[in-house]
């Protein structure tokens, strides 16, 4: 399409007004008549058997309206692929924060008092806190019974505390290692990190007289929530209505059904009144669904000329007490990063292991930042050992358009090489000299500067099943000439509403401010998969584009009748239908829409769009092409290390991103910058710290997220890339910013001072410990000190 009018413009967000004025309605703002307040009683122990749970005293408290325990939801299991969790603990608790009981009362204070009146006797069980411990012979078993095993290629073995495991072998691995001139081997660790969204999870549940549940939820997962509610309560989906309220950040953390949702509905049903249930910040840290911590062992076979021949990976993820989303995550993360370079042989043994800690969930990147940290850190060491420029090594191996990767991914648009070159040029990468060649005497008091690079590949819209994996939308044209989009794809802060408005406006020749959108309500908005895998722009955007094109066709048909010309002679611009050959001959869009609605046998203009990518369900053990497109990025971090304290100051993050042709470069830039900051937190300080199963830092004060004052300069450029499948050439970009940061920063620290920290976060103490000062005799003893001053006390 030539000369785009709205698409590609850095337009402000369509929902900026309500966010800025504070009028946006979050789930915690929802007030229903007679609404009660709920609270959850959580396990204070990491692993224990519930011997007695007595709620009778609590139930007698005036003003208390409902108490629910595991007895109110027997046999109901939760979990994605592996159903090993419960709404409320049945007879055991498996982490500090595990849901045991819940109450609802007229007043929050009554609810709090009731919680304190619930009597419990516990029998402590031996806990397990690390993955290595958990898989060791004779380790305490966290799940006694085997659940229905997940389908191949996943393996489940609760006797050995293995939630899910996958084994992948591609190409001639032995051959690759036999031919190698060098084999590099490292062990890397990453920490548990919370998404840190500002709005804690919250839900308001209400049942009507017909037994229909309405859930106002702060969730990214409206259609899924509806299905899960239907499953949990054994009713058809039409008996569930999920209303998506404004979400105050999610980053993957609100992409799944959590016990909180079911408990709110249980309480509301038992109390026969609406119930509001919200997490406190501490509960978010304790019982949210944070990023998985990992141990990743990588072996890479390399030829002298820098060709990456093969790779062996052993991955252990700590999935906490329940697998939750660990199963799909394992499928995705175990293969994805292999597709970044042309590596011919892969062997991966990856497992998510049960421990008595908080179950993990999705967080921007879905395992990618951890894998990228391990692989890209090692890559820079390989380059320096071979005496190659790390950028050159990457370019030599980089995946190219038209490639079929080791896992069968069919790469269409791919500007990885361009991104590497761009980011190298913009960051002044040529100034980088390997640490090994520098004088260690440089370790004086002066800050040490260094550069580090990292690249990444990410999925757009990956297919998890043979079923529906697309998106549907309608675009109506109202009689006043405004367009109205109805899609199930909710905006959780990324800016997708703005992107959709731009797409529809472009197709219909309107301004983006002439486009309205319905908010998410499963009674009215279509089925959606949810906003994972950077799929909203590419999948949802295509559906909106198709719907708008359908509406455009209907408008043209109507206008052709009115203007008495052929449809092909008409075009849409500036809110008018215009005869191309005679532009003065035009009617407003509103007129066409009105005519179509009000004439005899009229009907509204409603365009329908359904997109379904031609992809194959992701299975890294087979050759599959699961995504409609793949996004790429390259980053360079420039850091300054203080050799006296080990503190790392990140000066610049340069990013070059292949997210196709951006629909809204301003919104995409916001996505990249926000992601970079989350990546910085993860690189430098963020870690959910446990002691005996309890989180020591369950608050923002100690969470290590970057403060505003610590934001470095972030350079953000978009590669010249046009995706053949994405709407107007766009691909997903939401996960590009975060993923490379930890590796780029770790590489920059290594380049600055020769310290290789293989365990995130890169704390100053770890950096300082690694500094190797040249030995120098101390000259402390002096014969005569300075004159003492008798006046000084």
């Amino acid at each position: 399409m030539d000369a785009l009018k709205t698409v590609g413009k850095p337009l402000p967000r369509v929902d900026a007004r309500e966010k800025v004025t504070g009028s946006a309605v979050y789930s915690t703002d929802v007030q229903l008549s007679g609404m009660l307040h709920g609270l959850i009683l959580r396990s204070p122990f990491p692993h224990a058997r519930i011997v007695r749970l007595d709620t009778s005293e609590a139930e007698r408290l005036p003003g208390l309206r409902a108490v629910v325990t595991g007895r109110d939801c027997p046999g109901i299991r939760l979990g994605s692929l592996v159903k090993d969790a419960f709404v409320l603990a049945q007879d055991r608790v498996r982490f500090v924060g595990d849901e045991v009981a819940a109450v609802a009362a007229d007043e929050m204070e009554t609810a709090a008092r009731a919680l304190a009146l619930i009597r419990m006797d516990w029998e402590p069980l031996p806990p397990v806190f690390s993955t290595e411990e958990a898989i060791a012979e004779g380790a305490p078993r966290i799940h006694e019974e085997d659940v229905r095993p997940p389908e191949p290629p996943l393996i489940h073995d609760s006797a050995r505390n293995i939630g899910v495991r996958i084994h992948i072998r591609k190409g001639d691995v032995e051959g690759a290692f036999a031919k190698a001139d060098h084999v590099f081997e490292n062990r890397n660790e990453t920490s548990i990190v919370h998404q840190g969204y500002l709005e804690p999870n919250c839900m308001v549940a209400s049942w009507d007289a017909h037994g229909k549940l309405t859930a106002y939820a702060s969730s990214m997962y409206t259609s899924g929530l509806r299905q899960d509610f239907a499953d949990v309560f054994g009713m058809p989906v039409s008996k569930v209505r999920v209303i998506g309220t404004t979400v105050g950040g999610a980053f993957g953390g609100k992409i799944s059904f959590q016990p909180l949702h079911a408990i709110a509905a249980l309480l509301a049903r038992k109390a026969d009144a609406p119930v509001r249930l919200a997490n406190s910040r501490e509960e978010e840290f304790t019982a949210g669904r944070p990023r998985v911590s990992t141990v990743i062992e990588v072996q890479t076979a390399v030829r002298d000329d820098g060709a990456l021949l093969g790779r062996k990976v052993r991955f252990l993820g700590d999935c906490g007490a329940y697998t939750h989303t660990a199963a799909p995550m394992l499928i995705v993360l175990s293969g994805r990063s292999d597709n970044l370079y042309r590596i011919g042989a892969i062997e991966t043994d990856a497992a998510m292991v049960y421990t008595n800690k908080t179950p993990i969930g999705a967080y921007r990147g879905y395992g990618n930042p951890q894998m990228t940290f391990a692989f890209e850190s090692q890559l820079e060491e390989i380059a320096d050992t071979l005496g190659m420029d790390p950028a050159e090594l990457r370019l030599r191996n980089a995946t190219q358009p038209g490639d079929t990767s080791v896992h069968g991914w069919k790469i269409t648009s791919c500007a990885l090489s361009e991104a590497i070159k761009t980011v190298a040029e913009r960051s002044g990468w040529s100034r980088r000299t390997p640490w090994a060649g520098r004088d260690p005497g440089a370790l004086g008091s002066r800050p040490l500067r260094g550069f580090g690079m990292a690249c990444m590949v990410h999925e757009c819209d990956d297919r998890h099943s043979q079923g529906f994996a697309g998106s549907v939308a309608t675009v109506a044209l109202r009689e006043d000439g405004r367009a109205h989009i109805v899609t199930g794809e909710g905006d959780y802060g990324q800016g997708s509403r703005t992107v959709y408005a731009q797409i529809a406006a472009e197709v219909l020749g309107l301004g983006h401010e002439d486009v309205d959108q319905s908010s998410i309500d499963t009674d009215f908005t279509p089925y959606t998969l949810g906003p994972w895998g950077s799929r909203l722009t590419i999948s949802g955007g295509n559906a909106v584009r198709l719907a708008a094109e359908d509406a455009r066709g209907q408008v043209l048909e109507e206008a052709a009748r009115i203007l008495e010309v052929a449809e092909e002679d008409l075009t849409l611009e500036e809110g008018h239908v215009v005869v191309e050959a005679a532009p003065e001959k035009r009617i407003p869009l509103a007129e066409a829409a009105r005519s179509r609605i009000h004439r005899r046998n009229g009907s509204p203009i409603i365009g329908r769009g359904a997109e379904e990518p031609d992809t194959v369900p992701m299975d890294p053990t087979k050759q599959t092409n699961p995504c409609s497109a793949y996004s790429f990025a390259a980053q360079v971090a420039e850091v300054e290390v203080n050799p006296k304290t080990g503190q790392v100051k990140v000066l610049h993050i340069h990013t070059a991103n292949d997210a196709g042709t951006p629909i809204n470069p301003l919104a995409l830039r916001g996505q990249i910058e926000g992601g970079v900051l989350q990546g910085l937190g993860q690189a430098l300080l963020e870690e959910v710290r446990y002691e005996e199963g309890k989180i020591l830092n369950p608050s923002f004060l100690y969470s290590g997220m970057p403060r505003a004052s610590e934001v470095p300069q972030i350079d953000c450029v978009f590669a010249d890339s046009k995706d053949p499948y994405g709407p107007f050439g766009a691909k997903g970009g939401g996960e590009l910013g975060l993923t490379p940061v930890p590796a780029a920063v770790a590489n920059a620290v290594w380049n600055a001072c020769g310290v290789r920290v293989r365990s995130l976060p890169l704390t100053p103490e770890e950096v300082l410990k690694g500094l190797r000062y040249p030995r120098r005799p101390r000259s402390r003893a002096r014969s005569a000190g300075p004159p003492s001053n008798p006046e000084n006390p």
């Binding site: 204070p44 709090a112 406190s280 000190g785 300075p786 001053n789 000084n792």
Partner: protein, 338 residues
């Protein structure tokens, strides 16, 4: 949604406040800015019957003084007011430096100098919610018998984290304390017990009304360096205040104060290192390093979640070294962020 579990009283004068505190010993708690107290209340760390809100006492907000009579800062002056006051900026830049490092601008708009001076000690095992603390026997600070920082320890090792106090001690500052017996002036240094459980020597009826910086101290040159995991909204892992009295040439040190905050239940002076600095000339790098080394060896420190004792010791040494050099205007690469 929650009814206040206490009654709020608003005394009209400081004496009245002292009176009330005396009459309700153990049942009343004073609130100045509330920036720390509110968090503790939310975590159910405090229980009392009366909250004595002294914010309505305007006489405690004044900042007055000159180089001859010294500086007087009312306890209720907010940290932001201290930081922005032209008078304090001119007469006592060291205090400005430290006040500006507390929390964030929003916190400094609420928090007061008096509140910071009287700030309670903090600990990973104490400053948690009631749910968190509920699964362990109470620690010493909470009234129990165990310390989780130093296992089998018999005292409380909660840490002092008030940024303004090390500089005040380094300046030999005093506080005017009002109690039912009248008022008195005592050194800031004497306010601290060194016991994490009850860190202040103030009597149950006593309030800090004013902070006084003696005129002689205003001629000291000082630097406060805060080392914290984050630039803002973070307690100091180590805070070092150095104040030196230099000769008229600005070349030789005649009197030295070095105070370390953040690593013990009270700010610690390090007389051994102070002594080494006296008579020292600005260019004696080696001797400055020696003083920093001696200073860092002379304090007892414990590991915590953020840093090991060894790392903290190294940081004390680095910070003393840098602070002294900065006082002599020699270090072009300060450690403390900003």
């Amino acid at each position: 949604m929650f009814r206040l579990p206490f009654e709020v009283v608003h005394p009209a004068t400081v004496a009245e406040a002292a009176e009330f505190l005396s009459a309700h010993q153990g049942e009343a708690k004073v609130m100045a800015g509330g920036s720390d107290l509110m968090v503790s209340l939310n975590q159910r760390l405090l229980s009392f019957r009366y909250l004595v809100d002294i914010q309505g006492l305007p006489e405690l907000r004044r900042i007055v003084g000159d180089s001859e009579s010294g500086l007087r800062i009312g306890a209720l002056a907010t940290l932001r007011e201290v930081e922005r006051s032209p008078l304090v900026r001119r007469l006592c830049p060291l205090l400005v430096q430290a006040a500006g490092k507390v929390g964030s601008v929003q916190i400094r708009n609420l928090g007061t100098l008096g509140g910071n001076v009287c700030l309670d000690t903090r600990c990973w095992y104490y400053n948690q919610t009631d749910f968190w603390r509920g699964s362990k026997p109470p620690c010493i600070k909470e009234g129990g018998e165990e310390c989780y920082v130093v296992r089998r320890g018999d005292t409380c090792y909660a840490l002092h984290g008030a940024d303004t106090v090390p500089p005040l001690i380094a300046l030999d500052a005093q506080v005017r304390v009002v109690g039912v017996q009248g008022e008195g002036v005592r050194p800031v240094e004497s306010l601290f017990t060194g016991d994490g459980k009850s860190p202040l020597t103030l009597g149950p009826d006593e309030l800090v009304a004013e902070v006084l910086i003696p005129p002689a101290s205003l001629f000291r040159r000082g630097v406060y360096i805060k080392y914290a995991p984050k630039d803002t909204i973070a307690y100091p892992l180590v805070g070092v205040a150095v104040a030196l009295e230099l000769d008229s040439a600005g070349w030789t040190c005649q009197r030295a104060r070095i105070v370390i905050g953040g690593v013990a239940a009270a700010p610690l002076r390090v007389p051994s290192a102070e002594k080494l600095l006296c008579g020292l000339a600005a260019n004696d790098d080696e001797w400055i390093a020696e003083a920093a080394h001696v200073g860092s060896r002379s304090v007892k420190i414990y590991s915590d979640v953020y840093a090991s004792a060894g790392y903290k010791r190294k940081m004390i040494r680095t910070l003393i070294d840098q602070a002294v050099r900065q006082v002599f205007c020699k270090d072009p690469h300060p450690t403390g962020r900003r």
